[in-house]
Amino acid sequence: MIEQDLKTLEEKSIYIIREAKLKFKNIAALWSMGKDSTTMLALARKAFLGKIPFPVIYIDNSIDFPETYAFREYLAKKWNFKVIVGHSEIKPDLVGSACCGKNKPETLKKIMKEYGFDALIVSIRRDEHGVRAKERYMSPRDKNFRWEYKNQPAELWDDYSSKMDTSGHIRVHPLLDWNELDVWRYIKQERIPINPLYFSRNGFRYRSLGCTHCTIALKSNARSVDDIIRELRTTKQEERSGRSMDKESEYAMLRLRSLGYM
């Protein structure tokens, strides 16, 4: 992993987050309580003088880690932002990974409609998954959340497109250029509070967080942010290898995304 210049990444993300807030009428952000979306919130605070100027949506499938629930309450209070909790149901999806598949977007759809959000900040990174390499900083979704990844508007000269039919919304991706190691280096630099599940206990840690059902701990002795950075500088393992969904079918990810998952 190339260690990119954090200042450049930070400036760009701040620009995109401000652009989203000032371009759209009613925006929200998705917060999984993982390292990426928590980093995004830290960047939003920088962009808006310490105040996160949009509500944060958290989709609860009711079997998340207890640490995650505790972290949600801790950070929402510490940084003083509004959390909208959506309750998703457990049921089978296209790839048979019940907990994080089709049910989450359905809940998200309901919330987006209820609150009338026209844009949603999602903290995906280009290096995270093949399909995500095709995303743009601002990607339109139609009213059914479908993503036409083969026919996207050009993003020319920082002019992020907003063209869509009025029933859809725009996904905003301020962390698209970051890689996993950049995120951890930034967490260290800015001392961003982080979900304790990322740190090793009994020789295992979580590298990418889902819920108690779909997330598998990976062998690791990294007990601090410094340890994690050291570990990532040498590892060859894929970040999402601890998520059962990805193993089922990579192609399914593309389908899920085009159907509106994340």
Binding site: R18, E19, E155
Partner: protein, 407 residues
């Protein structure tokens, strides 16, 4: 580490995969296992060792992992990383020109020195668009020198065929470099080639490195901040935007354009912290003395002594991608402006760079035209301040062209 994105241009058969394969190998990015695989694969096909197969095995592996983006290769050199992004056609170039800041301003053009290959019209058009999109440094790698016996003559011939054109379309002479290479044999990529002693310059990666070092935003330019809008602050509204050129300091006298309102900068916040100044490339939040006018989005905050022109009529060089006519809109710094009319002055050939008489805007060709806008905007030559000199044109929701302000 700074990652410099480089647009990799050139015709399909002129050796792009081979070049990337050789670079990965020579910079140590390709593992021994992978090189061995490529060797075996070459042998199976009864060929000599083919460096492109290194890339192919990457591609295969990536395909399985669905890492899809096989068109991007990262090469490390000294303290920089180059992300070589393959943009095989003008559509890819336009679509991938995601933002000036991230995509870079350097192009690497690969041209085959083989007699029957050489420079094509499509290659020239590609360069024309690249220049319009803001790429201002060009490295031309004249490839397959091994096939032409490493002769200086053929290299000079290819060079002569391009030099006039690239200057005509606006590449400064000091920003264009020609390097003879053999991607296949790995000659003159990382180390100077012993087979081309007549070539006095540096090997390819060093030339790219130098081109990358030349970049950067102009710190010495006059202050220009492109405004995104306003946000609430502790003591009233703050104006937020990005410094496109110059430097803003507390106490500076500025003008808000196109309105022309004058103000003083009372307070600057950068990345959530109070600061005495905002540097080029930084996102600033500013408290200005006096009332902030409505409709700040898309305005420009300028040094009050060196202001850009404010006009509702601009002369543009336009690369045409769709039909012109009534109902056109121009996107300019995040706002949509209706067009009152467009008058084509003359055409420009995208393959020769020459002025042509035809006044019709043909797709894939260029024109110089006068665009009349429904409102005034601060404009400047594209070569002076990019942000104030570029427009994206749409007609009935369809992409019609990209235009840059010319003198």
């Amino acid at each position: 580490m700074q990652v410099k994105s480089i647009a990799l241009l050139g015709h399909k058969d002129h050796g792009k995969s081979t070049l990337i394969g050789s670079l990965l190998m020579q910079t140590g990015a390709a593992t021994k296992v992978r090189i061995k695989e490529a060797e075996q694969y070459s042998r199976r096909l009864h060929k000599n060792f083919e460096p492109a197969f290194i890339l192919d095995s990457f591609a295969e592996e990536r395909l399985q992992e669905m890492t899809i983006d096989t068109t991007r290769a990262e090469i490390r050199h000294k303290d920089l990383a180059f992300a070589l992004i393959d943009v095989p056609g003008h559509e890819e170039l336009i679509k991938n020109m995601i933002s000036g800041a991230s995509y870079g301003e350097i192009a690497l053009l690969l041209v085959s020195a083989k007699r029957d290959e050489g420079i094509r019209d499509q290659t020239k058009r590609h360069l024309f668009i690249a220049r319009m999109l803001g790429i201002d440094r060009l490295v031309v790698a004249v490839n397959k020198m091994d096939i032409v016996g490493y002769g200086e003559g053929r290299f000079e011939e290819v060079k002569k065929g391009l030099v006039g054109f690239v200057e005509k379309i606006g590449f400064g002479a000091g920003n264009v470099a020609f390097v003879p290479i053999s991607a296949y044999k790995g000659e003159n990529l990382v180390r100077r080639s012993a087979r081309m002693k007549w070539y006095r310059g540096k090997p390819l990666l060093d030339v790219l490195y130098e081109a990358a070092a030349k970049g950067g935003r102009k710190q010495d330019g006059a202050l220009r901040i492109i405004t995104q809008g306003t946000i609430p602050g502790r003591n009233g509204e703050l104006v937020v935007g990005r410094v496109a050129s110059g430097r803003v300091k507390v106490g500076d006298r500025v003008s808000i354009l196109p309105m022309g309102a004058d103000a003083k900068v009372d307070e600057i916040t950068v990345k959530g912290r109070r600061s005495g100044a905002g540097e080029v490339g930084e996102n600033v939040a500013m408290r200005l003395s006096g009332p902030v006018p409505d409709g700040m989005r898309g305005t420009v905050i300028s040094d009050s002594r060196h202001k850009p022109a404010v006009s509702d009529s601009v002369k543009l060089r336009i690369f045409v991608t769709g039909k012109f006519g009534d109902g056109m809109t121009a996107k300019f710094n995040g706002i949509d402006i209706q067009c009152r009319g467009i008058r084509v002055l003359h055409g420009i050939s995208t393959t020769t760079g020459d002025v042509v008489k035809s006044k019709t805007a043909k797709v894939l060709e260029a024109v110089e035209a006068e665009l009349r806008l429904a409102r005034k905007v601060p404009v400047e030559d594209y070569s002076v301040t990019k942000e104030l000199g570029r427009f994206v044109l749409y007609r009935k929701g369809r992409f019609a062209g990209i235009g840059t302000v010319t003198p």
